[in-house]
Symmetry: C2
Subunit: 437 residues, 2 copies
């Protein structure tokens, strides 16, 4: 159903200095010889990036070895203008040049990105201020009710068929899975994640749950099916909701689940549990207080809330390319900003768990399936799209491995609620991973 | 050894408007009749406190019933000046008047305090600004190296014999215990706490641990005895260290444990684990960044840190009486302030657990033993001291029950450490509570 609907993605580049994508792709052989100051520029660029083990191959075939140690990766620049884009705005240009095939990579893409993230993270402490200002990421775009609709449509309405090619076939989870054992399959780990979330919420039959941002509705179905709770799930992605509704009817769960096509800000009623898995990244810092107040009024006196979100160890803006091309409006909160949501509502934080490396593994599993279906993706969209998503997945694996992204599950309740679980033992009383799958 | 060393406690009141304790205790019968505006003042006071179910009995025997519902508690004011102290500075005066016997209570003391905390917490939202300013708690006193020494001496050097009267006889733990089952004894729960902390640190034989603030050295001994690790434990309470050292020698653990009489700020070396149980409350907000930097440099690349501390749901100053009479310099961080410590050091937060109600239970167990030894305490010190500690313990039970205090255990590591535990399953693989005891 999705075929041909994809390039809502804004590949034009009107907002940035680097007009990377409006350039015609040049045949590398036709390009001129590199100037000596271009070699100097590459050496300088690599030093600023903390001297990672990267070899450059220029448009004329010439090779520049890294200053320190042997190269582990080769980065081909296919035309000389690519170099200037990269120097002017590396955060944005790297992704755009790679997507356009003007930058090619020899070596494992996630490994290269991890190595780059680690070396840049250490090196940027020493950047002069002007460089930090030049290369900085910008504030994400707005996340008001109407903008949120566009932001979410941009990514999540790419077509269910596309996501079905590489997400798990158990519950179509596009969020971090939970690997109880390193050898678990993606399906096992996604079901274990759903189970882990339900246990943290201490669900009991007959309880009511409200879900903010429900994806393809998998958590709602899991909760209804396995815990006998009544769920109201909100989402503004029409494509996702259509799938969720059909699947809930097919499974005979539509008596327990109400999928609502509306913004989370319009949630009404009071529930025993408030849950949101993978939406906070899209909420935007300016809406954290409103979110906190929303949870406050949506939660019964002894209710429990769980927010599951990508996060940071300290505040940091989203990579420009990801925010521009992949996730408009995205901003993962730092752990401190996350806690401000809880503080604002006078909530009591009961439990924080960081599943960072679980997300790296989830993304690796997605990448395997994505690559197995890459030709199909290119047929559905185009080569540029496939390359952009390949880089996005690889860069995300790298960011979780390098520790520039975290995955926090935060459980909290009203400050005066004493109906608390005695300990977390019950989360681990028996395996969360289903047998089989 | 401690007998007679106690009243370093500053019972004079030179810093406050309310000269509560310098007044002679008057015989209630000798006091004058209450004025009508005094009755009005009590009604007003109770309304400002959110109309808790408290009856007042005045110095002449006259009774004032609560405006709403039946009374659950009676509060006797023994002289008319006590009323003015209470109105002028209730946070400080309540404790001072109670300690001095000028305020008496009928009913369960922790229940009364909890009921008061809950009703004041709700009511203070509506206080006029001038009242909020009049009744506010003040900043805690300084916590520089020399002041910290005095602050700690004030409380922890009251004498080991005193603490032995009511702390557990397993490891003399003066911090929150961990009740795996509600029926656990204090000894079981304190040993389970030590075990729980060791598991969170993922200790293995041969590892090195540094401990900031070690109390009577129980955690260090537990770690050395049960996990075969080498421990450096810092403390500035001489009384505690003398006990710790003797006990470590008695148990033949002095080859593994080095107790250091020094400020945590003077920790040197690098360790596999950094642990601090119940010290952060005394560190002071102004030292959080330095603490973060200290942990950063004290932790090996794959090391794990654990801070266990009383905390808050949002920033709030310590109750004036507790800070002045019981814990000089104390300030429990809010969860957000706690996370700032982690953010400042670019740490990755792995796990936060809130053991709030476990501390209420711990304090209840302490209170039982304290009351069983109250006569002995009065012999060692005086009636005023016994009453002050009775109120401090009861008020603490109440604060944890009412949710105005939390107990956070926070586990974190360097941001680029990938040698992480896969999940928290191993914390719950078998009971942390020892059999027997």
């Amino acid at each position: 159903m999705a075929q041909g609907t994809a390039p809502k993605t804004d590949y034009s580049d009107s907002n940035t200095k680097a007009h990377v994508l409006s350039l015609p792709l040049e045949n590398s052989q036709a390009d001129r010889e590199p100037h000596s100051y271009e070699r100097w520029l590459i050496a300088k660029l690599m030093r600023m990036a903390g001297s990672p083990a990267i070899r450059f191959q220029l448009w004329n075939g010439e090779v520049i070895e890294p200053e320190q140690g042997p190269a582990r990766f080769t980065l081909h620049l296919k035309d000389h203008k690519a170099l200037y884009s990269l120097v002017a705005n590396p955060n944005l240009a790297f992704g755009d040049l790679y997507s356009a095939g003007r930058l090619e990579i020899d070596g494992d893409l996630p490994d290269l990105m991890e190595s780059l993230y680690r070396s840049v993270h250490a090196a940027r402490q020493k950047w002069p201020k002007w460089l930090d200002a030049l290369w900085k990421n910008h504030n994400p775009r707005a996340t008001g009710i109407s903008e949120a609709k566009e932001n979410i449509h941009h990514h999540y309405d790419l077509g269910n068929e596309f996501y079905q090619l590489w997400l798990d076939n158990a519950e179509m989870q596009y969020t971090c899975a939970y690997y109880e054992h390193p050898g678990n399959t993606l399906e096992q780990a996604q079901l274990a994640k759903l189970e882990h979330v339900c246990r943290k919420l201490r669900l009991r039959p007959g309880m009511t749950v409200v879900e903010a941002g429900c994806g393809w509705g998998g958590l709602a179905r899991y909760m209804a099916r396995n815990y006998g709770v009544k769920v109201h799930s909100y989402n503004i992605s029409r494509e996702q909701l259509a799938y969720a509704q059909a699947e809930s009817e097919r499974q005979g769960l539509d008596g327990l689940i109400t999928y609502v096509e509306d913004d989370y800000r319009n949630i009404t009623g009071q529930y025993d549990a408030f849950v949101s898995v993978g939406m906070l990244e899209h909420v935007g810092k300016e809406n954290y207080r409103a979110l906190s107040e929303l949870i406050k009024r949506s939660l019964k006196p002894n209710g429990i809330a769980l927010l599951h979100s990508i996060g940071r160890n300290r505040p940091m803006l989203m990579n420009a390319w990801i925010e521009k091309r992949i996730f408009p409006g995205a901003y993962p909160p730092s752990i401190g900003e996350f806690m401000e949501i809880c503080e604002h509502g006078d909530f009591s934080v009961l439990d924080v768990e960081n599943l960072r490396l679980h997300y790296a593994q989830t993304l690796s599993h997605w990448t395997e399936r994505f690559e197995a279906n890459a030709e199909r993706v290119t047929e559905m969209y185009d080569e540029h799209f496939t390359r952009a998503w390949r880089l996005y997945l690889a860069g995300s694996i790298a960011a979780f491995r390098a520790g520039s992204l975290q995955l926090f599950q935060v459980v909290f309740t009203h400050g005066d609620n004493n109906q608390l679980p005695q300990s977390r033992q019950d989360l681990y009383a028996f395996p969360a991973t289903p047998e089989g799958n």
